[in-house]
Subunit: 208 residues, 2 copies
């Protein structure tokens, strides 16, 4: 009886509209009105797919998380699963580079990511997703570093837990710079800094 049900696709379309608005004008502009207009719908239609504004925002944030996670995890499987090729170093750097806003796609994601995670500080409904992104990123970084240590890519006496936090913080800081001051932190610079950091890790020095 019903019309062809493409509900989940519809929801993703609306979430996509939210992401565009947040990237362009910020979270505070993502009202139901603006979102509906951006998606080419009316408020009522949007509300038919999302019970409330809050639910829409949470869904959108989860959609963003899934997108980023998928992009990064495809790199990770490639690097961690097989015995991997010879250029582990280069591929490891590529993996970490996925966290940085080096092209337009990643930049837009980074912009919206920053908007959501900072909003999570005062909006409890965003906290679970924000926390999950934070933890999953660190867990992945930690796994890669541990694997690098096991395979001799970095010295065995390094404190992996600490180095994980240090690298994760560096990536966050580079992302922040790329998002807020793109002219002072262009992609090439971010890349060079990441490259330098990984070289320093590989060279290693006494941990204490």
């Amino acid at each position: 009886m019903p019309r062809v049900v493409v509900a989940e696709t519809r929801r993703q379309d609306v979430a996509q509209a939210v992401l565009r608005i947040v990237g362009r004008e910020g979270l505070e502009s993502a009202s139901l009105r603006n979102v509906a207009q951006e998606a080419g719908l009316v408020i009522g239609s949007v509300r038919h797919y999302f019970a409330s504004h809050t639910e829409l925002m949470i869904f959108t944030m989860e959609e963003l998380r899934r997108r980023i996670d998928g992009r990064i995890r495809s790199h990770a499987e490639q690097l961690l699963d097989p015995d991997a090729g010879i250029d582990r170093r280069a591929r490891t750097e590529e993996l970490f580079a996925e966290f940085l806003p080096l092209d337009e796609t990643r930049r837009e994601e980074a912009v919206v990511w920053l908007a959501f995670v900072t909003a999570a500080r005062t909006r409890p409904e965003f906290r679970p997703c924000a926390r999950r992104m934070h933890e999953e990123a660190r867990e992945l970084i930690g796994r890669v570093l541990l694997e690098a240590q096991r395979s001799g890519g970095i010295p065995g006496d390094l404190d992996i837990a600490l180095e994980t936090q240090r690298l994760a913080a560096l990536l966050d800081g580079l992302t922040l710079g790329g998002v807020l001051h793109p002219d002072l932190m262009p992609p090439e610079d971010a890349r060079a800094i990441l490259h330098r950091h990984l070289r320093a890790l590989a060279a290693g020095q006494e941990p204490a």
Copy 2:
């Protein structure tokens, strides 16, 4: 003829109220109504000292910048001006630690700082101040690293411009973590990571 004029003090009181609200509930809660109540005034009074809501927010952001800048610069003069004592290493670390949310005061400042600088991306009126904070921080960090290199604290073959950006990004990332996930990035951890980074810098390795 006028009542005793304490206008500038009054303005700072109101700005202080804004800072409290932003720290507690976020930028979006800093409406004239809420600010007036927090400051124990009426809307009309607040508007008597600030022509518009925008002017109030800009003044508050500048006030925050002055506060952070003063705190950090007092450390800097102590370290850069005289020939300085023997423990340059420790004092340098102390200086950089001023950027991190290691105690309640610095944490509150960091929270509000993050709110303002991220808002600056979509609010042009905040950009000048945000940019100034960013540039002044990097300039100071660069000066300290250069001085450390000159005095032999860190190897002479390091690329100071690059290391400045790397350290600045690390500090930003640690601050972000401390603000958004204080339980996963407690002050001790942030300190330890900073310590580790500076040790690594001092040990140095080939720059390429």
